[in-house]
Symmetry: C3
Subunit: 348 residues, 3 copies
C-alpha cells in the first residue's frame, strides 16, 4: 500500500510544502522514519527528533516552524491529520461474514448474516448481534442482550443479560458490560444466622450508546433499577470502573483506572485524568476537567478544571501546593518571630 504525499494531503484536508510526488509507504515515528515514510510532529518534547528525522515527509500544524528543505504536510490539526493518514495505511479490520461451527448461538438469538463470530464465542438466547459486527473468541453475550452494527468485541469481552451495545462500539479484551452493581442493605437480624449484607437486586441494565470504546478489563456495572449509560462517542480507557446508574456523558473521556461511584452524572465532553475517583450522586458539568488522581467529593461546575484529593479548583490546588512546599520554612519564620516578639516584650 502506498500513496503520494499529494494524495495524502488531499485525503486529509492538508497541503504539501515541498515535493508532493514523494511516494509514502509507511507511517513511522520521527526517529525511525526513512525516505518512504511519513511521520508527524505535534509535541514540542520531540523537537530534536523532528530536527533530525530522515522521514520523507512530516505532518505538522499550521503555525509550526521547520528547517528549510523539509518536506511537510501542513494541516490545521497535525494530530488529527496524522490519525487520518494512519487510518489510510491501517484501515480497521473488516468482518468476514461467518459464524464458526465452534461458536455457540443459543435458540432465539439473532446474528446478522454479515457478522463474524469466532470459535468459543457465545451468544445467549434471544440476544442479537448486528451487521458486520465481530465477536472474537471467548466473547460472551448474555440472554436478551443486544449488540449493534459494526462493533468489534475483542477476546473474552462479556456483555451480560439484557444489556445494550450501540453501533460502531469497540470493546477491548476482557471488558465487562453489565456486571452487578455493588449494592447491599445491612440486615442486622438476618435470617436467623446473624447479621448479613442483603443483596439488592441489580435488575437494571448497562447501555453503551453509539461510537463508545471501552478499554481492556474495564467494567460498566448494570443499574439497580433503570440503566447505567455511556453516551454516544464517549471513550474509556483500561481498568476503569463505572458503578451502577452512572450516566457518562457524550464525547467524555476517562483515562485508565478511573472509578466513578453510583448514580454520578458526568456531562458532555468531560475529561477525567488517570486514577481519578468520584463519589456517588454527583453532577459533573459539561466540559469539566479533572487532574490525574483527583478525588471528587462535590459537584463540579461546567467548564471548570479541578485537581487534588479532595479536589478543588486547579488554581487553588496549585497555590496550596506551592504554599505547602514553603511550609517547613514558614514554621522556622514563625519561630523567629516568636523569639523576636518575646525579646520585644521583655524589653518593653
Amino acid at each position: 500500500m502506498h500513496f503520494t504525499l499529494a494524495e495524502l494531503a488531499k485525503r486529509v484536508g492538508g497541503r504539501v510544502e515541498g515535493d508532493g510526488s514523494v511516494r509514502i509507504e509507511r507511517v513511522m515515528p520521527l526517529d525511525e522514519a526513512g525516505p518512504s515514510d511519513v511521520s508527524f510532529f505535534a509535541n514540542r518534547r520531540y523537537a530534536a527528533a523532528f530536527a533530525a528525522t530522515r522521514a520523507g515527509a512530516v505532518i505538522v500544524g499550521e503555525g509550526e516552524q521547520a528547517a528549510a528543505g523539509r518536506t511537510l504536510l501542513r494541516a490545521p490539526d497535525a494530530y488529527l491529520a496524522f490519525a487520518k493518514v494512519s487510518t489510510l495505511f491501517h484501515p480497521p479490520r473488516e468482518s468476514v461474514p461467518e459464524v464458526s461451527s465452534r461458536a455457540s448461538i443459543a435458540p432465539g438469538a439473532r446474528v446478522d448474516p454479515s457478522a463474524e463470530v469466532k470459535d468459543f464465542a457465545f451468544v445467549g438466547a434471544d440476544a442479537s448481534v448486528g451487521a458486520r459486527t465481530i465477536l472474537f473468541p471467548g466473547v460472551v453475550i448474555g440472554e436478551g442482550a443486544r449488540v449493534g452494527d459494526d462493533c468489534i468485541l475483542y477476546p473474552n469481552v462479556v456483555v451480560r443479560e439484557r444489556c445494550i451495545v450501540g453501533n460502531r462500539c469497540i470493546l477491548q479484551p476482557g471488558s465487562v458490560v453489565g456486571g452487578d452493581g455493588f449494592g447491599f442493605a445491612f440486615d442486622m437480624v438476618g435470617d436467623g444466622s446473624g447479621p448479613r449484607h442483603y443483596k439488592v437486586p441489580q435488575s437494571g441494565i448497562a447501555e453503551l450508546e453509539d461510537d463508545v470504546e471501552l478499554g481492556a478489563n474495564t467494567c460498566v456495572d448494570r443499574a439497580t433499577l433503570g440503566r447505567t449509560v455511556v453516551r454516544r462517542g464517549a471513550k474509556i480507557d483500561d481498568l476503569v470502573m463505572l458503578a451502577h446508574n452512572v450516566d457518562f456523558g457524550p464525547l467524555s473521556l476517562a483515562a485508565a483506572q478511573v472509578g466513578i461511584s453510583g448514580s454520578t452524572k458526568v456531562g458532555m465532553g468531560v475529561i477525567l485524568g488517570g486514577q481519578v475517583g468520584l463519589v456517588g450522586h454527583l453532577d459533573i458539568g459539561d466540559g469539566a476537567r479533572l487532574g490525574a488522581q483527583s478525588g471528587v467529593m462535590n459537584d463540579i461546575p461546567a467548564g471548570e478544571t479541578y485537581s487534588g484529593s479532595p479536589a478543588g479548583p486547579h488554581r487553588d490546588w496549585l497555590r496550596e501546593l506551592g504554599a505547602v512546599h514553603q511550609l517547613p520554612l514558614l514554621i522556622k519564620r514563625v519561630r523567629e518571630l516568636e523569639k523576636a516578639m518575646k525579646k520585644l516584650q521583655e524589653d518593653e
Copy 2:
C-alpha cells in the same frame, strides 16, 4: 408478577399507610414510577423526586415525612425493605440442571447433578462443583479446586488450582481467584546470566468462605504458603486486588479499585472506600472505616475512621485540610508580621 402493597408490607416486615390493596407490578426509581409501581426514598438528595413522584406507593423509613395522601410502605429500614421487595420482583436466577455437551469436565471432577454448566466452561481434574451452582460460559475451575453449593460464577471467571469457593458465593465476570501472589527474591548472582528476580513459589491457596461476592475483574491472589482468605459474608466490588496471604474479615466491604498488600489482616465489618490502598502486614481493627483514596501505612484501631494518604484519624485529616486551605493567606499574614516586627525593631 404482581403483589398488593399489603402483601409486600407483610413480606418485608413493614406497614402500609394508605390503600393496601393497590396492585404493584414493578419496582421503579422515583422519577420513572407510575401508579402500578413501588419506589423508595432513602437519600435526601432525592427529596424533590419524592415530592413529585407518580409512584403507586413509596417505601420510606419510620421517621420520614411525606405529603398528605401519599401511599407509603413504612419499614424500620427503607433501603433493606426496598431490597427485599425488589427481590420478590427479581428473584435470583435458578440453576437449570444440565452440563452442556460443549462444556469440558475433566476426569475425576465431581459436578453435582443439580448444577448448571454452560458451553465452554471448564472443570479441571479432581475439582468439584456443588449443588445448584451455575458456571457461565468461559468459567475455568482449576485442578482440585472446590466450588460450593448455590454459587453463581459469571462468564470468564477463573478459580485456579486447589482454591476454594464456599456456598452462596457470587463471582462477577472476569474475577480471578488464586492468581499467583507477587513474590520475588532479588538474586544478585542469578544462574550465570546476571541478576534476576527469583520467583517465590506461591504454593498456598485462595479461599472464599460462604456468602462472599467478588466484583467484575477483581483479583484475589493465592498465598505464598497457607491461604489468602475472604471471610463469610464479605462483599468486594470491581477491580479490587487482594494480595497473597491477606485475611479479609467477615462482613467487611471493599469498594471498587481497593488494593490490599500482602499479609494484611482486615477485621470484621470494616468498610474500605473506593481506591483505598493498604501496605502489607497491617492489622485493621473490627469496624474500622477508611475514606476513599486513603493510603494506609499503619495499623488502625477497631472502630476508627481514617482518611488521607498517608491516612490519619478522619477528624485530624479534616482539620489539616482546612488548615491547608488557609495556608496561602497564612503566608501573607506571616509576611505582614515580619514587616511589622522589622519596623518595631528599627524603632526600638
Copy 3:
C-alpha cells in the same frame, strides 16, 4: 517428597546449625510449622512467631540471633534461600505435550510439539507457540502473535494480533497484551454528524521480553506506532496498566494497580509501589523508587526515591507531611503573634 536439612542447605548455598539429618517434608509458615517442616524468618514483625515456632528448622540470614537449640539453615539472604527451598518442594508445573481436540489452532499457526494447549484455547492464523509452553483454557493468541518457549499463559489470557511474548514468561489469568492504546484526535467537524473523537489507529505492537511476569487482569496496551515493551526480567503485579509506547525497563517492578501513561520510559531496576500513577512522556531513571500512591508528573533522576502526589523527593515529602501536621497549631501561633503585635503597636 522430602529432603534432609543438610541436602536443602547444600542445594541453596547455606549451612546448617544443629542437626543436618532432620527430615524435612514441607515448607510452612512459622506459626503452622511442625517438626518435619522448614520455615523462614526474614521480617522482624514475626519475631514472636520465630521464638515460638515448632518448626524442625528455620531459614535465617547471616546476622540473625536465635534461641539456643534452634535448628537453623543459615544463608546470606534468607528470603532467597527460602524461595529456592520452596521451589524444591513446589517445582513449576511442566507441560504435558498435547493439543486438546477442543482447542482451536488456526491454519498457518505453529504450535511446538512439546507445548500443551488446553480446551477452548485459541491460536490464530500464523501465530506461533514455543516449546514446552502451556496455554490454559480460554487463552486467545491473535493472528501472527508469537509466544516463546517455557511460558505459562493462565486461563483467559489474551495476546492480541502480532504481539510478542518472550521465553519463560508467566501471564496470570485475564491479563491482556496488546489491547488498543487510548488515542483519539478531537475532530470538531466530524463527518457531518457533529464533533467526534477520531480513533488514532494503534498499529504498533506490545512486546514482553524474556522472563517477564504479568499479574492477573493486567493490561499492556499496543503502541500507536512501533512497540510498547516490557523488558527482560521485569515483574508486574495485578491490575496494572501500561499505556501505548511505554518502555518498562529490565528487572523493574510494578506493584498492583500501577498506571503508566503513554510513551513514558521506566529505567532498569525501578520499583513502583502500589497504585502509583505516572503521566506520559516521562523518563524514570534506573533504580528509582516510588512510594505507594505517588503521582508522578516529572522526570525522576536515577537512584532517587520519590513520594506523594504530585511526587517529590521522599525526604521533602516527609518534611512537608510533618509540617502539615503542625499546621493547625501554627495557625494558632500566628494568631497569638498578631495579637501580641497589635498590642505592641498600640503601646508604641
